[in-house]
């Protein structure tokens, strides 16, 4: 909170400093010295605030990598540190996506890993051999400090330093950004937001000055961004859109021409050097806008040149004819290229940006990711607090003062507001612009209301009464906004520590007496796998846990969070949704040794596999509509039940059997109370597992691991084998002729 207090002082001093411009040279030196030292102090405070608020996760839990994707990034970084960069670039990972393998080096964004490897090597060079895990854990907080600085520079371009400092403070602690950058959240977004801001900052600088140097910096930052995050497409579309708007507004200048061409040419060629991107910039429709605006800009430049040479009247004719020709030619060309398959068709993710229901119907794999769900209203407030209502006001203020860079912020905020509404994860790109806009609005407000100079000047001009009123209103408004700032800090701290600091690998819970307890079932299970299974063992699980199994248990997985092969995921889905004997054959075919399921019924953990089961069924049904039918898993009323009324298909499915195997026995009278679905599962509902052996269940039964039985040595079906094992020794042989297929 102290940072905020200090920050508010700044505009005050800055304003007074401006007033005293006319004082002597010596005084000016003194004031500017105080200003810059204050600024430094404020920055140090902001950096401390932004880093320390991200350390909740480490302090409350421990220094580990969070969630799912960061585990892959961490594993890749380890590989890079242990091998050469060339090995990393050509890394063929045979321990995922068995038996397909993954060309990992060519299908990842290497920016994050190379940056941390670079830091690791640099620290070793200066005699600080830090464990790579610690670098990865503290990577995001460190970069959030840089983000704060870059945001400051960007906002300075929009208004002035006062707004810049406010924006830096906001971005430092705003929960919308913290959600993806707490310590341990070693994800691409951690570095990408920094680069996003840097690219925009250089772009606006380049645009303002028509500077080749700054535009080249923008292109280099863009290249870095491309190497770090798939979200670079956002920049690829936003900058051309900005330029397009400027042209439509009739604001074409040679500065725009220089800035855009420099950025586009260098940026595009540089981005093609990333193996995963390759030729996408000239093939994919996501990049067509940038290319189109590039061409348009050449035409506009030509038009501008011609306009300077010939008369107005002739120019109008030339303009209309060429516009019509270009439109026809462009549209026809686009259709033709798409039709011939030379440019990629519109991707599913693209469609789902426009129609939120598209993915749910057509591509369950995309819709099944919780990040791709539409956002809820409270989330906006939770992530940005009072900035969310300053944001529209700021956009209005931008309209009042419509310079080129303000158009940029307007375009950014309009586009991003829409996209954030469609996909939760895009909230992350909206947050910076909210912070910038909020800072601009607030600093404009403070410019006026925090200016108490009338107190000193009233003696000469106005009456005392009016000056008192002025001071009073100003004090009132300022005080209320300072109170809002205080609330904001309070809110940010609370949200950060309660909502965004859980590593999701370990789950927090409470003991009866209210003290904190940690549920550590995941790591317990992964450690069991690491210690008790063969190094070459293949583990089948739903794809959510693939990266964690690879990272923590170091075992080969069938599918993981890099969902590049829908069919392969459908195989696992089918295995989970089918009866035992079908699953067994399918899994044996893929050399699977163990199956891992997450079951939250004992603990009351809602994100378990039974709740994800419908997605598995849908994805499998997409490939095998004859064998897996979603309808069969519902009871007649259209309900999805797990108790005695559950459908037969449901009870026979492998997922059901594995989840509830032995579950009713935990409870008195065999009345198993599922705490997630609030239904009673009895022993009669759960059939025996004949083809799988339970080998491990974690402390709270959150993770359950089953081993596929070996083929029967005598060649029997494993169900016959189980039946025989259950029979008594004193059984008599039957005198009835067996019903068997006779030999042919």
């Amino acid at each position: 909170m102290s940072e905020i207090a200090e920050k508010i002082v700044v505009p005050d001093t800055a304003v007074t400093a401006n007033e005293n411009d006319t004082t002597t040279q010596k005084d000016g030196n003194c004031v500017s010295w105080i200003q810059s030292s204050l600024k430094t102090l404020i920055f140090i405070a902001i950096i401390i605030a932004s880093i320390s608020s991200r350390l909740f996760a480490v302090i409350r839990f421990e220094s580990i990598i969070h969630e799912f994707d960061p585990w892959f990034n961490y594993r890749a970084t380890q590989y890079l540190v242990n091998n050469s960069f060339k090995d990393f670039l050509n890394w063929f990972d045979e321990r995922t996506w068995y038996p397909l393998g993954r060309v990992t080096g060519g299908t990842l964004y290497p920016g994050l890993m190379t940056t941390s490897a670079f830091i690791w090597h640099a620290l070793r060079k200066i005699g600080l051999p830090v464990d790579i895990r610690n670098i990865c854990v503290l990577f995001a907080p460190a970069f959030s400090a840089i983000t704060a600085y870059v945001t400051y520079k960007l906002t300075c371009e929009l208004k002035d330093e006062k707004a810049g400092l406010l924006a830096a403070a906001f971005i430092g602690i705003v929960p919308g950004y913290i959600s993806r950058s707490v310590a341990g959240s070693y994800d691409n977004e951690a570095i990408a937001i920094t680069l996003l801001m840097a690219t925009f900052m250089f772009w606006i600088k380049g645009l303002k000055q028509g500077s080749i140097l700054n535009s080249s910096f923008a292109a280099l930052c863009y290249f870095y961004m491309v190497s770090a995050w798939g979200g670079y497409v956002f920049i690829t579309n936003l900058i051309p859109f900005h330029v397009f708007c400027l042209i439509l507004m009739g604001r074409y200048t040679s500065k725009i021409y220089v800035a855009y061409n420099t950025w586009f040419v260098i940026g595009t060629i540089a981005s093609m050097q990333i193996p995963f991107v390759g030729f996408l910039p000239i093939k994919s429709n996501d990049h067509m806008a940038a290319l189109g605006v590039f061409c348009l800009l050449q035409i506009v430049a030509l038009g501008d040149f011609i306009k300077a040479k010939i008369s107005e009247k002739k120019f109008k004719v030339i303009m209309w004819v060429s516009i019509i020709l270009i439109m026809i030619g462009g549209i026809a060309g686009l259709f033709l290229l798409t039709y011939l398959g030379l440019i990629a068709p519109w991707t599913g993710r693209f469609y789902s940006l426009w129609d939120t229901n598209y993915a749910r119907i057509h591509i369950p794999i995309i819709a099944s990711v919780s990040e791709h769900q539409p956002i809820t209203w409270p989330a906006f407030f939770l992530d940005t607090h009072f900035l969310i209502w300053l944001f529209p006001a700021a956009v209005f203020l931008m309209f009042m003062d419509l310079k080129n860079e303000h158009v940029f912020i307007i375009v950014y905020s309009v586009l991003c507001s829409y996209f954030a509404g469609v996909m939760v994860r895009l909230m992350l790109t909206l947050t910076p612009v909210i912070c910038i806009a909020g800072a601009v609005a607030l600093s404009k407000l403070f410019d006026i209301y925090l200016d108490f100079s009338p107190i000193f000047s009233t003696k000469k001009t106005g009456t005392t009464k009016s000056s008192v009123m002025t001071v009073l209103t100003r004090a009132l408004v300022s005080a209320s906004f300072i109170y809002y700032l205080y609330l904001f800090v309070h809110h940010c701290t609370w949200v950060t520590q309660s909502a965004y600091s859980s590593p999701s690998v370990v789950l927090p819970s409470q003991n009866r007496d209210g003290s904190m307890a940690i549920i550590d079932d995941y790591r317990e299970a992964y450690y069991w796998l690491r210690m008790n299974t063969d190094y070459d063992a293949k583990i089948a699980s739903w794809w959510d846990y693939g990266y964690q199994i690879g990272g923590m248990a170091d075992r080969t997985t069938l599918v993981d969070n890099n969902t590049w092969n829908n069919t392969h995921i459908a195989i696992v889905g089918k295995a989970m949704a089918s009866p035992e004997e079908v699953s067994y054959e399918l899994l044996k075919e893929h050399d699977v040794d163990y199956v891992l399921v997450i079951f939250g019924g004992v603990l009351g953990f809602g994100g378990d596999d039974i709740n994800k089961f419908l997605w598995m069924i849908r994805i499998a049904e997409g490939i095998w509509p004859e064998e897996v039918k979603e309808r069969d898993f519902f009871v007649n009323q259209g309900e999805f039940r797990v108790d005695s009324q559950a459908s037969q298909t449901m009870k026979k499915s492998l997922m059901y059997k594995m989840s509830y195997h032995g579950f009713p026995d935990l409870f008195p009278n065999g009345q198993g109370q599922d705490r997630v679905r609030q239904q009673v599962v009895t022993a009669a509902d759960v059939e025996d597992l004949d083809y799988f052996d339970e080998v491990f269940s974690s402390e709270n039964w959150l993770v359950r691991i089953y081993k596929l039985k070996d083929l029967d040595i005598e060649g029997r079906d494993l169900s016959d084998f189980a039946e025989f094992e259950k029979s008594k020794n004193t059984k008599r042989s039957s005198n009835k002729r067996p019903e068997i297929d006779l030999r042919v």
């Binding site: 060339k86 670039l89 050509n90 063929f92 045979e94 068995y98 038996p99 397909l100 393998g101 060309v103 060519g106 193996p275 300077a308 040479k309 010939i310 008369s311 070459d536 075919e589 893929h590 050399d591 083929l711 029967d712 040595i713 005598e714 060649g715 029997r716 025989f724 094992e725 020794n729 004193t730 059984k731 008599r732 042989s733 039957s734 005198n735 002729r737 067996p738 068997i740 297929d741 006779l742 030999r743 042919v744």
Partner: protein, 445 residues
């Protein structure tokens, strides 16, 4: 030194002499015979036991009519016998001691079992055990009959030519017209479709199994029924079922001797035993193994495998022409019949097979190098090795100037660069005043 050589030679000589007399089992000779005096007299089978002794089997006989006899197949977890011969036995006590589960356990642990059933006695454990293998002998009341055979003594006889099913086990090729006598009390069995079952001798077309009651359904009709069936489980332990005890008795022994000898040899693992001695795959050109140089797509690879077989006394090269190699990634990408290359250079007891040079598919991933040789009567061979085949690295593609098609683009790049430099030079060299004059003139049009 010299003395040692002599002793060695002498031992070898001794071994070969013994072997010439009779073959030895590849796994072991401890044999348990379970017998019940109430069903039959042991002395009726003295010739059969002498044959076993000639085969160097170390025989223990357990007589079960005495109720105090305990049968122990295992001492703690160690198997006490290699082979088990089960004559038909009466009584409940026995069904607990020799329960089907114990027999299965014995068999799964690698022990061989010879089981005999007759229509007179129902030995439940043996029936249950056989049923688990997919062999269903006819129940107690039913016996095999053939009304077309000479019925002066009710003995059932089958000719080799018509009835012998498996030529791998039955070695006597010249004796196609020999006749085997099964006596007058024979049970026939139904077999299911399991591939591990090896039908050995089937009933004649005119035979059938029927009981005393008229309403009963016939267990088998004609060639549905079998009299001898073998079974080999996945750990290569062998079971054999005989539908007649008299087949082994002194009375018919001489007539059946060559078949009995074959069956004993196969059942107790004296013949048709093959094993893999060495598997290898490597880069064809450089002879480097996978560990030295991992495979990448379209590499040229050679796969070799060496096989030995047991001839009763020692391991000798095993020669066949139907040994196949498979390269699989769920589905097979290659299926190559390997050619015998002569005796393996590293192991003189084995035959070397090679696929010759083949090109890996242009597809990266985890591939299984597999030899799956499963022939009825021979030991099963399943040899698999999973290896990753990586994609081409960034510098393993041909360079652009090596591809003739790319010359067009290279030339155009060069042209653009050169003309740009030329333009810049020209632009700098041209005096500025020339262009000024033109613009002002045009503007006024």
């Amino acid at each position: 030194m010299l003395g040692l050589r002599y002793i060695q030679c002498f031992l070898l000589l001794l071994c070969s002499i013994i072997v010439n007399v009779h073959a030895k089992s590849a796994i072991g000779s401890r044999t348990l015979i379970v017998f019940d005096d109430r069903v039959d007299d042991l002395s009726n089978y003295s010739n059969f036991f002498n044959l076993l002794k000639d085969h160097e089997f170390d025989i223990t006989t357990l007589e079960l009519s005495d109720k105090s006899t305990k049968i122990n197949l295992f001492e703690k977890d160690t198997r006490l016998y290699d082979n088990l011969i089960l004559f038909p036995v009466k009584g409940k006590l026995y069904s607990k001691q020799l329960a089907a589960k114990k027999l299965i356990h014995f068999n799964e642990d690698g022990g061989n079992i010879l089981a005999l059933t007759i229509p007179k006695v129902s030995s439940d454990p043996i029936h249950l055990y056989l049923n688990q293998l997919g062999i269903y002998p006819s129940p107690r009341t039913q016996s095999l009959k053939d009304l077309f055979q000479d019925s002066n003594n009710n003995n059932l006889q089958f000719t080799a030519k018509e009835s012998i099913e498996n030529k791998i086990i039955y070695s006597n090729e010249n004796a196609e017209d020999s006749i085997y006598n099964f006596g007058d009390s024979v049970s026939a069995a139904l077999l299911d479709n399991r591939e591990q079952i090896i039908p050995l001798l089937k009933a004649s077309r005119t035979s059938f199994t029927s009981g005393n009651k008229t309403r009963e359904i016939n267990w088998t009709d004609g060639t549905q029924g079998y009299l001898i069936a073998g079974f080999q489980n996945l750990v290569n332990a062998r079971s054999l079922w005989l539908g007649s005890v008299q087949f082994l008795s002194n009375e018919h022994f001489k007539q059946n001797l060559d078949l009995i000898n074959d069956l004993i040899q196969w059942n107790f693992q004296e013949k048709n035993i093959i094993k893999v001695t060495n598997v290898n795959h490597y880069h064809t050109e450089s002879n480097l193994s996978y560990d030295e140089l991992p495979y990448k797509v379209t590499d040229n690879i050679t796969y070799t495998i060496s096989l030995s077989q047991w001839d009763g006394s020692k391991w000798i090269p095993f020669i066949t022409d139907d040994l196949q190699f498979e390269l699989r990634q769920v589905d097979p990408y290659y299926r190559i019949t390997m050619k015998p290359q002569g005796v393996s250079p590293i192991d003189p007891q084995a035959e070397l097979y090679s696929t010759g040079d083949f090109k890996l598919p242009n597809r990266h991933g985890m591939f299984t190098f597999l030899t799956n040789y499963q022939r009825s009567g021979l030991s099963f061979i399943h040899q698999s090795d999973v290896k990753a085949i990586r994609h081409l690295a960034n510098d393993e593609y041909p360079r652009s100037f090596e591809i003739p098609n790319a010359w067009v683009y290279l030339a155009s790049i060069a042209t653009v660069i050169i003309s740009f430099i030329a333009f810049v030079l020209f632009f700098i060299a041209t005096p500025a005043s020339v262009s000024e004059g033109v613009t002002t003139a045009k503007k006024t049009n």
